[in-house]
């Protein structure tokens, strides 16, 4: 295993981690502040990707498309909040699961209806296309690097917003003692709307950011949703910091495990056996990590609730 291959895989892992963080950040707050099971967060990521595909094609510019996507993804999230989610706050988790499960079915088919089943592509902005020399004998696509950087910048921004603004303070308080916040006379409905809309926008942004490198297709958010859950469980519900660290852990472990698992096992067993075992084991690694974390700390690495 050469060093450059390792670096490539680490970058790939970071990229997945950053993506997971963008989706998980909003969702962990929705769970934490509202105690709301939202299965439909993955389709909001998908909707973001579709919006980006549509707007980029319309305007012919990636940047314009991205700029249009954000407010529309936000508006879409708020629309869902008003139409569906707000009627389910404080209800049984089962009702929330059913409704948001229904929403997944609905939206996955709706995008198929509107845009067809064929995967859509999104053109990359010119200045970010191509690749650059990262180290000797290793070129890496600029866009993917930019994605990592953008994710890290957004994470930093979120960190500042959560810890140093009034709304961030309310959100933090909401995750720890939601009843207390309500008792203090804060408009809890508005806080919920903000958290929700914001989470939807971040998920949509994640979708828009990956649109140029992944195919935009119905159901693209379904499996990512589960990865997001793993991230949230590991990080601790309601914790942005936990989501960030867990997202990077999951992204790196999953990518490196798949890339190098079979090779590592080959040190201990025959090539054929190592190949099958490695390929079976690699996708399970993050779930095993989750099980271990849950076992040791049933409320995640950075529990927020008291």
């Amino acid at each position: 295993m050469s060093v450059s291959l390792l670096v490539v895989q680490i970058l790939n892992g970071l990229q997945l981690g950053v993506l997971l963080f963008l989706i998980a950040a909003g969702l962990t707050l929705v769970f934490g502040v509202m105690d709301f099971i939202n299965l439909a967060h993955g389709v909001q990521y998908m909707v973001g990707a579709y919006l980006a595909a549509m707007f980029v094609t319309w305007t012919g510019s990636y940047w314009l498309g991205l700029t249009l996507t954000l407010p529309v993804a936000l508006a879409f999230g708020l629309l869902l909040e008003v139409l569906i989610f707000r009627r389910l706050y404080g209800r049984d988790h089962l009702d929330q699961m059913l409704a948001t499960f229904g929403l997944i079915l609905f939206l996955n088919q709706a995008v198929r209806f509107l845009w067809g089943s064929e995967p859509l592509g999104v053109a990359m902005p010119d200045i970010l296309s191509g690749s650059i020399q990262v180290m000797d004998g290793l070129r890496y696509p600029v866009y993917r690097l930019a994605l990592i950087v953008a994710g890290l910048v957004i994470a930093l921004g979120l960190h500042l917003a959560i810890n140093h603004t009034r709304i961030g303070m309310l959100i933090r308080a909401g995750s720890t003692h939601s009843d207390m916040v309500a008792a203090l006379g804060v408009n809890i409905r508005r806080l919920f709307m903000v958290v929700f809309g914001f989470g939807a926008m971040l998920a949509g942004l994640a979708g828009a950011l990956v649109a140029p490198i992944l195919s935009v297709e119905p159901g693209m958010g379904d499996n990512l949703l589960i990865l997001t859950f793993v991230v949230i469980v590991i990080g601790g519900i309601g914790s942005i910091r936990g989501a960030f660290i867990a997202a990077l852990m999951v992204g790196l472990l999953d990518t490196l495990g798949r890339a190098f698992g079979p090779q590592l096992l080959r040190l201990a067993m025959s090539a054929a056996a190592a190949n099958q075992t490695g390929r079976s084991l690699a996708p399970m690694l993050i779930y095993i990590l989750m099980a271990v974390v849950l076992f040791v700390r049933p409320t995640g690495l950075f529990p927020v609730k008291k």
């Binding site: 229904g102 609905f106 989750m290």
Partner: protein, 321 residues
Amino acid sequence: MTGGTAAAANSSRAWRHPAVWLFAAFLALPIPAHFGANAYILSFATHAVALGLAALSLDLMLGIGALASFGHAAYLGIGAYSVAILSDMGHDDLLVQIPVAIAVASVFAGITGFVSLRASGVYYIMSTLAFGQMLYFLAQSLSAYGGDDGVTLAARSRLAGSHLLASDLGLYYVTLAALIAAYVLLDRIVGSRFGRVLGAVRQNPMRVRAVGLDPFRYRLLASILAGSLCAVAGVLLANQSEFVSPAFMTWQRSGELLVMVVLGGMGRLWGAVLGAICFLTLEEVLPGLTDNWKMVLGALLILAALGRGSRLSQLFKGVGR
């Protein structure tokens, strides 16, 4: 719920019990199917009965024990892959396949339950979902069994050496027998000491602790029982479709199982079976009406969830208790 959903508790009233009607209808179903010579109905019914068994097992967790497991389809997968793998190894008898499926399911339910039941609420739901997905990826990596594409079974399983399952009618009745046996078993369990504790844990875990019982053990055992029964459903489902793939155990399938239980009314066992039939029928009928039937189905689910706890659903809640 006094002492279970007892069909047999009061034999003079037994005929009025919905479960009796439901199973009688199932028993008689092949008759019109026979005269109508529509083989498809029988295959659909077998499918529905097998998934009815899966939903029934989930009702033990969800309806009786308030455990909203979002990974139940994993056990369908365990059952189905037991058939594929054991048949491949030359063990094609249900008398081998079912015990193995149950053993594997128990171990998986025991280990994952041990971890996720310690966590509560949202953590429980998310971790069951994730563990289910873990098994899905494991199945996907089994290249000897077709990986993502799955594998077609060479033949249906045998039953105690006989080829009873080779005929569609034989398979149907064997599947139905499994469902009825499971129903009777669970009905007994719900009415037993164990069932009473499990029902109490649903209503108020703190109260259960305060009389000296540890809710965890009862939840864990309920998970193992439910997983085992669902694995049996998976064995039968594989025989019905004569094909096994990771698609048996997607998390969407787990979601559908939850929908079936809720649709039929939680906690009364036969309701889960009825819910399975209603859901599968809907899935069968809607595509004939519109290409975008999944939008209709999704919208129906949203409305059902929003409307739960409404007057209408309270009305149905009383039936058959």
